[in-house]
């Protein structure tokens, strides 16, 4: 689904992503770990075609994403720090807006089913202004459920979710993978990461310092490797 080679990005001559290469096949999940400032969000934004890398190549769903970003955006869904939620619209209205913008079926039954999937059907007609950040994050995931995305990019998706929400999110991601979708997830949550990852990558100082199958790593191994590999990098 994603093939990236030698991605580099600098802001004001400061390298933020420095020669990152990675591959995420369909039906798998890559979890990106790394301290603050390691470049996780920038890498996700490059994969989402929101930021153009200074050099390197990126193919998403078989299409050159740097040459034709518009062509791959239909295959991409992103749940970033911002929830893409309009505060003065209800949960249902938010979904109607994004489904229509994405060119998807925005019939009320389908929207309610998506809200039911994220356990928000009881507040479907309430304005998002009254929602917690965790609820807004769920609206973002309902938006993903409505689309036809094959690549899901998530930035700190476990933030703001309670225990039940985390469990639900893990199930959602497993189902998305099961349907043939690819997931790239940036997080600080080791527990959340190990629950859904097929591969675990650690980013430090803009470089990919580890990329291993998750099955080879226990939680203790991961913590030890994380501490060793990120020691001295900016946090």
């Amino acid at each position: 689904m994603i093939t990236a080679a030698g991605l580099r990005k600098s802001f004001a001559r400061t390298p933020v992503i420095d020669g990152v290469s990675l591959e995420v096949p369909a039906g798998t999940c890559l979890v990106l770990l790394g301290p603050n400032g390691a470049g996780k969000t920038t890498l996700l934004r490059i994969l989402a075609t929101l930021v153009r890398p200074s050099s390197g190549s990126l193919t998403v769903a078989g299409v050159d994403a740097l040459r034709s970003p518009e062509a791959v955006r239909e295959a991409i869904a992103m749940v970033a720090h911002g929830s893409y939620v309009y505060e003065d619209l209800s949960a249902l209205e938010n979904l109607r807006f994004w489904a229509t913008m994405g060119g998807h079926d925005a019939s009320e039954g389908r929207l309610l089913a998506a809200l039911s999937q994220v356990e928000l059907e009881a507040v479907a007609h309430e304005r998002a202004r009254t929602f917690s950040s965790g609820m807004k994050r769920r609206i973002g995931l309902a938006r993903v459920a409505l689309g036809r995305a094959r690549l899901l990019l998530l930035d700190e998706p476990f933030t703001g979710l309670d225990r039940q929400g985390r469990k639900w999110l893990s199930e959602f991601l497993l189902a998305f993978k099961g349907g043939g979708g690819a997931v790239v997830l940036a997080t600080h949550s080791f527990e959340g990461a190990l629950g859904v990852a097929d591969r675990i990558a650690i980013l430090a100082g803009g470089r990919l310092v580890l990329d291993q199958p998750a099955a080879d790593l226990s939680r203790d191994d991961l913590r030890r490797l994380y501490d060793d590999l990120t020691e001295g990098s900016p946090r």
Partner: protein, 226 residues
């Protein structure tokens, strides 16, 4: 309806619904317009001849100043919760977003203009009933021009820090052809002359509208992406 039309419609629907609920722009614009009327009244005094001569300019000065307040805010809601990023990621022709935003601005400005024209009539004791038809034509063409260029510059400046300063500085010079034509056409219409007398100004206005609309539709994608 085509996918393009549905996208433009949903942006229009979302902006108007948000405004109806928050009333952030409309409330501010009404009070601002009311204040302008008082200020003009104090500045010009009771001299009716002076008032008649200045009225078209005052009317459009009111619309432009209200427009600067209202149009500048049109993309602010997109910055909350990173909705701007969400719009960027939507597939399809991004000019549908521009069209939806432009129509929403057009509707909001028209509401403000209708109220402002009514208040002008009352405050300055001007009988507008006889010229309502021709005046509506001038207002329509002028508002399309103001909305088209205002929406484009609002998008351009939405992500910059000094947008409150940059927006009017960029917008006002570009609006000169629209303002020149609308003020002149309004003067002819309010003077009781037939609309045909203002034909050359209306042609200039329609031409400017088409140019601004085409530029907006063609360049919006690059502005959103920048």
């Amino acid at each position: 309806m085509t996918a393009y039309g549905r996208r433009a419609w949903i942006v229009l629907w979302k902006d108007l619904l948000t405004e109806r609920r928050s009333k952030e722009s409309l409330n501010a614009l009404f009070f601002f317009s009311l204040l302008l009327l008082f200020l003009f009244q104090f500045a010009l005094g009771p001299d009716r001849e002076r008032l008649q001569a200045a009225l078209p300019g005052l009317l459009w000065l009111g619309f432009v100043l209200a427009g600067l307040l209202g149009l500048g805010r049109v993309f602010i809601a997109e910055r909350d919760n990173d909705c701007w990023e969400g719009l960027l990621l939507t597939p399809g022709d991004k000019s549908a977003i521009y069209l939806g935003k432009l129509l929403a601005n057009f509707v909001l400005m028209t509401v403000v203009e209708v109220v402002l024209v009514g208040l002008f009539g009352v405050f300055y004791n001007v009988d507008l009933w006889g010229v309502l038809g021709p005046l509506a034509v001038v207002l329509f063409l002028g508002t399309v021009g103001l909305s088209a260029v205002g929406t484009l510059f609002a998008a351009m400046t939405a992500q910059v820090r000094a947008r409150e300063l940059l927006f009017p500085v960029l917008l006002l010079p570009v609006q000169v052809p629209v303002l020149l034509a609308t003020v002149s056409a309004t003067q002819i219409v309010l003077g009781g002359q037939p609309l045909a007398e203002a034909a050359s100004w209306l042609k200039l206005l329609a031409g400017a509208d088409v140019v601004y609309l085409v530029i907006g539709l063609l360049t919006f994608e690059f502005i959103l992406d920048a």
